[in-house]
Each structure stands twice: as structure tokens, then as C-alpha cells.
């Protein structure tokens, strides 16, 4: 781990300040972009920025960058399971109208 300039043998504070800066800037970006109508892209950009911010917090503030593979696997599993729940439930609602479409031959 990089050493702190003013306190040798201590972990560096730089990653924290850089992450902080990144998070503030991305918050600003997401608010500004939301003011424009980009159609479906609005959601994608907003969620994408949120994912980037969340990843930054996980990697740097929560020290996962320096953590064991087990920790990394645990983090990924939690979000993966959430993904299962959302995506599979959504797939029910998305495909409900399909049978009518096929049955009527359209």
C-alpha cells in the first residue's frame, strides 16, 4: 500500500481524496445529464454512473481493492443474487403479452 507523505509507515490518504473527488464530480454529472431528454439513454446513463460511484466506494472506501478473493466473491454474489431477483421477475412481466402476439399470427 502506498505510504502517506506526512506520516511514514501509514497508509496513504490519496486514494480517499481522489475517490471523494470522483464521487462529487459524478454526482454533478448525473444531475446535469438528467436535465436533458435522451430517451431510454437517460436511465442507462444514470444507472451506469450510479454503478461507477458504487464501485468506487466498494473498491476504495471499503478497501475491497486490497481484500481477499473471498471478500470480492462475497460482494459479487450479493449483487448477482439481486440481479437474479430483479431480472427474472422482470422477465415474467416483459413476456406476458407474447402469447397473444403469436397466437393471433401477427
Amino acid at each position: 500500500m502506498a505510504e502517506d507523505e506526512t506520516h511514514p509507515h501509514a497508509p496513504s490518504r490519496k486514494p480517499y481524496f481522489l475517490t471523494f473527488g470522483f464521487l462529487i464530480v459524478m454526482t454533478f454529472v448525473t444531475v446535469v445529464v438528467a436535465k436533458f431528454n435522451l430517451g431510454p439513454l437517460n436511465d442507462i446513463v444514470a444507472l451506469g454512473i450510479a454503478v461507477l460511484k458504487g464501485t468506487a466506494v466498494v473498491l476504495f472506501f471499503m478497501h475491497v481493492r486490497h481484500s481477499s478473493n473471498l471478500t470480492k466473491l462475497t460482494v459479487v454474489s450479493g449483487f448477482l443474487w439481486l440481479g437474479f431477483m430483479i431480472f427474472i421477475t422482470l422477465s415474467d412481466y416483459w413476456t406476458r403479452g407474447w402469447l397473444d402476439t403469436f397466437a393471433s399470427g401477427r
Binding site: 502517506d4 506520516h7 501509514a10 497508509p11 490518504r13 480517499y16 481524496f17 475517490t19 471523494f20 464521487l23 462529487i24 454526482t27 448525473t30 444531475v31 438528467a34 436535465k35 436533458f36 431528454n37 435522451l38 437517460n42 436511465d43 444514470a46 444507472l47 454512473i49 450510479a50 460511484k53 458504487g54 466506494v57 466498494v58 476504495f60 472506501f61 471499503m62 478497501h63 481477499s68 473471498l70 471478500t71 462475497t74 460482494v75 454474489s77 450479493g78 449483487f79 443474487w81 439481486l82 431477483m85 430483479i86 421477475t89 422482470l90 412481466y93 416483459w94
Partner: protein, 234 residues
Amino acid sequence: MHSVTGGHARLQHHFDDLDQQREASTFGMWVFLCTEILFFGGLFTAYVIYRQRFHGVFAQASHELNVTLGATNTAVLICSSLTMALSIWAAQIGKRKLTVLFLLITMALGLTFLGIKTVEYSEKGVPFGIDALTHLTKHHLVPGPSFHYPCPPGEPCHPEQAEVFFSLYFCMTGLHALHMVVGVGLLSYLLVPSWRGRFTAEWHNPLECIGLYWHFVDIVWIFLFPLLYLIGAH
């Protein structure tokens, strides 16, 4: 990093050494955070389903939320995550007073967040304290018998769909606020040991674990903010 076996004051009897204890408790906190992901996840799932069903009305209803307050709160929480990380850094360099200072700032920022939330809620019509009577008549956006959605003129209006949006808004931000309150409580639990210099480079695991919890609550808000506040901003 050197671990101390046996005689260290913080070592619990069933662990072989401090390293094992530290790894176990950090891993335990991460497993707990997984449960929190799924806990909030149920509400996020409901949000996703209803969002795709009532796309237009959700955007419309989101317009009633105060983006400035929401963005400010986001910034407040990001600052609090920084100060939380810095409090651990301060413990690692042995500065107990600085550790306590950063913890107090983190708590203050957390309370600021809750304060701004209170203002937001009362603007919506949630009965709070002395302003309750006047604010209740201002807006009627709390779901329930007094719910009244001001339909924007010239657009199709479905007040019941807007009510679903506000139900989700209050449930999700309310659950998040509850977690913030718990977080502030946990931080206060760290103040006395920090002041006494119990946390050092060798052992600062409680700070680390509660820090993980605090950052997690920040991440939940990082997702809540665009999904609730920004979908109607254009």
C-alpha cells in the same frame, strides 16, 4: 503486519490469533452486508417492476421531489464516507483525538442528512413536529386517505399510479433513513473506545466493520438518488 497471539487484550478465547479474529469479523460484516443488499433489493425489485409499468407517471411524479435537496444529501453522504475512511486512517497512525474528531464529523453529516430528509418529508405532508399543521395542508403526497396528486394539466393522469411511486419513495427512503439512524448509533458506540486510544494500527477492526456498514448505507443512497429524484428531471 505482525499479529499478537494469546495475551492480547482484544483476543477472544475461541480464536487462535488476532489475525484470525480480524479476518472472521470483517468477513462476517461483509456477509451481513450481503443480506442488506437483498433486503433493500426487495424494494428495488418492486421499484423496477412498477417503473416499467407506469413509466410516464413515475417520471411525472418524480418531478414533485426536490432535486436540490436530494443532490445536497448525496454530497453530504459522500463527505461522510470520506470522513469515515479518514477516521480509520487516523487510528492507524495512532492519533486518537483525530479519530474521534472524524467520527464526530461523520455523525454530524449523518444527522445533517436526516435533517434534510425531515425537511423533505414535511414538505410532502408527513406530520412532523411544530410545522405539522401548516405543512399538512401544503402538499398531500403521503399515500393514504389524504393523498392528493396534483395532476399536471394537459397530460394523462393516473393518481393511483403516482401513489405507488410515493409509496415506494417513502418506503425506500424511510428504510434508508432507519439504517442511517442505526449507523449514527453504531458510530457513537465507537467514540469512547476511540478516545481511550483502543484503536491502533494493530487493532482497529470495530472501526473497519462499522465503516463498512456506513459506506454500504451510502451506496444504497447512491442508487436511490437517481432512481427516485432524477427520472423526471427533464
